[in-house]
Structures are given as structure tokens and as C-alpha cells.
Symmetry: C2
Subunit: 214 residues, 2 copies
Amino acid sequence: MPKLRVQSFSVSLDGYGAGPSQDLKNPLGVGGMALHQWAFATRTFQKMHGEGGGSTGVDDDFAARGFENIGAWILGRNMFGPVRGPWPDDSWKGWWGDEPPYHTPVFVLTHHKREPLPMQGGTTFYFVTDGIESALRQAAAAAGSKDIRLGGGVSTIRQYLRAGLVDEMHLAVAPAILGSGENLFAGLNLHELGYHCTEHVPTPNATHVVLTRR
Amino acid sequence: MPKLRVQSFSVSLDGYGAGPSQDLKNPLGVGGMALHQWAFATRTFQKMHGEGGGSTGVDDDFAARGFENIGAWILGRNMFGPVRGPWPDDSWKGWWGDEPPYHTPVFVLTHHKREPLPMQGGTTFYFVTDGIESALRQAAAAAGSKDIRLGGGVSTIRQYLRAGLVDEMHLAVAPAILGSGENLFAGLNLHELGYHCTEHVPTPNATHVVLTRR
């Protein structure tokens, strides 16, 4: 069975995965960029965005692990774009230009039907309107023997956690306080849901933890 | 002005400072002991409890810092003991035996009057029934030019945070998930209250962060 994995998901010290007041100027919410400083510096991130250089070491190892053995992705609609309600047309093709960094089928959760959208480099966006289990089934079929990466955002991850469908979750706890926004933990009893901390590797930039479901 | 400082306060990855179902057998709540593993190993902790040995290094440095330049302590009643309601008599003298590890005046918040309780080694417990500001005023007078350490528990710290009275808070984020219990962050906007992260020193045992009020 392929695993459903959350990888490189950054949260603040007070548990927020995104800041308040998300909009086009602040897609991660106000203050949300601070969560991802550990990732921006890595070789994996730089390479993903067509740049050379970047750091190696623990932060990069975790960033790289997020792309290993991944056969499909699942994204919440807000991660795909800022469009709300029915799709007015096919002009929005994601935040990532002509060649998105996925290179696999990507299943986007939405309430509004839309035709599959093939992109360059092996990424095709499929729009799933019949719920998170359906998206997971379709992603599993597409992934074959590989795993599925659950990209986010917070509310999508919380839905899959609550349904007991996430097998493994790598969080990077950043040295930042957001105070409000989208909280990953609020009202979610991860202990009761069977998660325990199976890996703990701190770096000067973030504390990496892996939560695994029993 | 003396500072009001929280030191060596351990929280889980999901923000809990104590587990659920606190009682005499589990004074830190179920699972709560896991939060303090980083501290138990340190030389400072071992010495405090009359043992030799213990680790030195970053964990111990943070533990030791919590006792530097402290002229008075403030504790919530639950940290002083399990007795609830009016004091039946003077028999409960804290968890710590005849010579508690404070060696300063200690102001215990309670709704029920009780005479001051002098102990060996310089600790005297004073019982404050007229609120957190009063306890802080009395502790400041007793501390002189030194700082005041706010010991806990969670609900006491939250009261002082909400009132904007905590100057500095050292948290040790432990690699543990509790899922329920007493959450330090829930419903508290630390960003709005003026706190930011001014220090971030991870170790294999815990991620140490210091939040300072602007």
C-alpha cells in the first residue's frame, strides 16, 4: 500500500501553518514566510526553482526526502490558487508556471468541476469534487507502488488527519510566533488519533519531527 | 525593574504544558513526564534534588539560567499541591520536603487564606488571595533588584501572559505529542501580546526558545 505522507510542512512555535489574512500578496498569510526560512536556503528548494547552490545537511535532507518515492500529490484548492467559487475559465494554471515542480499527477480538492490540466514536465492537475477519500483512491491508483504526498494547506491536512488517513507527517517547527492564522493542532487530538513522534532532528533553522501513525 | 520570567517551561509539539487527568499519581497529567526528560538529565536538576552528576551543555545551561538572579517565585496553587478548596490545616507543605529548592520567598496564588509558611533553606511560602497583580507586586518588593520567576502551571502562566506581565519566557519544546491536557497557546495571540522569538537553541532533547515581550 502506498503511504500518504505530509512532508516539509512548516509550523510556528504556537502551531500555525499559515498566518492570518491570506491574499495574493500574502499567500502564506501575514508573517507566514518566516515559517519557511529553513527550506528556502536548501539545495533542494533552490534546484526546484531552477537555481543553483543552496545548503546541504539536515534541512536539505528533509526537503529532499519529501520528493523521494512520490508517485502522486494531493493539494487543497487554496494551495493550487486564489480563485474561489466555480472556475470562470481555464486560465489559472497554478502558482508554478508552465512546468510545476511536481512531475506526477496532482489531485486538487475542489467543489467545482474542471477538466484535467496537463502541464509540462509530467505534472497533470486533476480536479476532484467528490471528497478526500476519493482523491486518495485516485492518487493511490496513480501512484502505483510509490507514496502519495499531501501538500497542504492546513485545513486539507487536518481533514486527512481527522479521518486517520495520514501515515506519516514531517513537520518543521520554525522559531517564530504567529499568534493567529490556521492552526494545525487546535481541537485535534493527535495522541488519540494514534500519532507519536518517531524522529526528532533539530537544526539551527528548525526542529524537524516526524509523527507516525501507530 | 525586576523582570517576570518563565524559565524551563516544557511544552509538547502540540503545545501542551501538562497532560490530561492530573492527580496525585500523575501530577503532570498522563504523559506529562515525557515533556521533562531534557531537564531530568541535567546537572542543575540532579543537584537541585541532592544528587551528583548530570549532563552539562545547552540543556543544563538553560536549566541553570532559571535560577540565576531570581529573588522571588510565583506559583499557581496546583503547583504547590493537590489540596483543593479551603486549607483543612497546615499539614501540606508542598511537594518538596523540608528544604524546597527555591531558597527565596515564594508567592502562591490561592483563593483561600493561609499564614506564611517558613521552610528550611530560605524558602517561605506566602499565600496570596487577592489576584495575580498583587502577587506580582509582593514578589517584586521581595525580589529587590533581582527578577521574579513564574513557575507555573499552565493556567497561571496564561493569566500573566494575557495581562501582559511576563517579560521573558523560556520554553523547551519536547519531542512528544500529548493530544490533550493544558494547552499553553490555545486562544492566546502571543504575537498580538507583543511576544517574539529572540533565542532558538535546539538540542537532541528539546528545542529551547526564548520569547520576549516588545
